[in-house]
């Protein structure tokens, strides 16, 4: 994988998007195994209904993992300097996640040429679930 060229990028440029398979109950069971997070809100419909909610919903960190995949499809992981997310809405079963991102700043940080990205993980209707930013070092 080659690192994108700093000089060739401009503020406003989009990075390649990532669209996932619809989030299923199996996805959440697999994520519980992989992450170690077995909270019943994500797995046990009886528990969720007893709390007055209609159905289980996705782990917030699953959406952040999708955004991480979007980043590592674009640059090698060692180029990522920082990565942060705000969880703004719940992801429901059956929703396909669409991760998009664009360059919002070109900067020097720690002697390296970097870009700051704004990233969004939304459903197909465009409802943002997670808003993120990342700083990536470029060649």
């Amino acid at each position: 994988m080659t690192v994108p060229n700093f000089d060739a990028l401009s503020v406003g440029d989009e990075i390649p998007s990532l669209t996932t398979e619809p989030v299923s109950r199996l996805t959440l069971a697999l994520y519980a195994t992989g992450s170690g997070d077995h909270h019943p809100l994500h797995l046990d419909q009886d528990y969720v209904r007893s709390k007055g909610m209609p159905d289980v919903f996705a782990h917030g960190m699953l959406g952040m993992a999708y955004l991480g995949r979007q980043l590592t499809q674009w640059v090698p992981q060692e180029a990522i300097r920082s990565f942060g997310v705000r969880f703004t809405a719940i992801t429901q079963i059956g929703e396909r996640m669409v991760c998009t991102g664009k360059v919002v700043e070109k900067l020097e940080q720690g002697g390296e040429k970097c870009v700051r990205l704004e990233l969004t993980c939304a459903n197909e209707q465009g409802e943002a679930k997670h808003k993120a930013d990342a700083v990536v070092a470029l060649a």
Binding site: T20, T27, Y31, D37, K51, M61, A65, R81, S82
Partner: protein, 146 residues
């Protein structure tokens, strides 16, 4: 009830985690990862890596990998059923691989509220070290709804 700000500065009980390729394999399967350096030890070695590469958010899972991951909220007397993950961030220093044993050293660095106390936020900062070397820093913000 507002959380007592005296808890700012409180140390979280430290813990250590040994990372296995097995767990990374399941994480990759769950997140739809197709790049084998994230799930196949042989492919990772072929790519010159010492083990399967932990993806960018995986340190959070290891930070949660303890008997009571929210022990600090319990100490503060928070109602677990009203808590949600509000924000998560990472600063990266070194890559993390299967086979690594990592030490997690956390501290509560802020407590604040919004909307006249209807939303209370607890900020936890964690330093992750491998044999003393800082590899990653995490910030977790939990919101507790009134």
């Amino acid at each position: 009830m507002l959380i007592d700000k005296k808890h700012i500065g409180m140390k979280v009980p430290p813990h250590s985690v040994h990372l296995t390729a097995w767990q990374l394999k399941w994480f990759a399967k769950a997140t739809g990862e197709a790049n084998p350096i994230y799930f196949d030890e042989a492919a990772a070695h072929k790519a010159g890596l010492p083990g399967v590469l932990a993806p960018p958010t995986f340190c959070f899972c290891m930070d949660m990998d303890k008997e009571q991951p929210f022990d600090y909220l319990e100490t503060m007397g928070c109602d677990f059923s009203k808590m949600l993950h509000a924000e998560q961030s990472f600063v990266y220093h070194k890559p993390i691989y299967s086979g690594d044993t990592l030490d997690f050293d956390g501290q509560i660095t802020d407590i604040y509220d919004k909307k006249n106390g209807a939303l209370q936020f607890v900020v936890k900062d964690v330093k992750v070290r491998r044999q003393g070397e800082l590899v990653c820093e995490l910030r977790t913000v939990i919101v507790i709804r009134a």
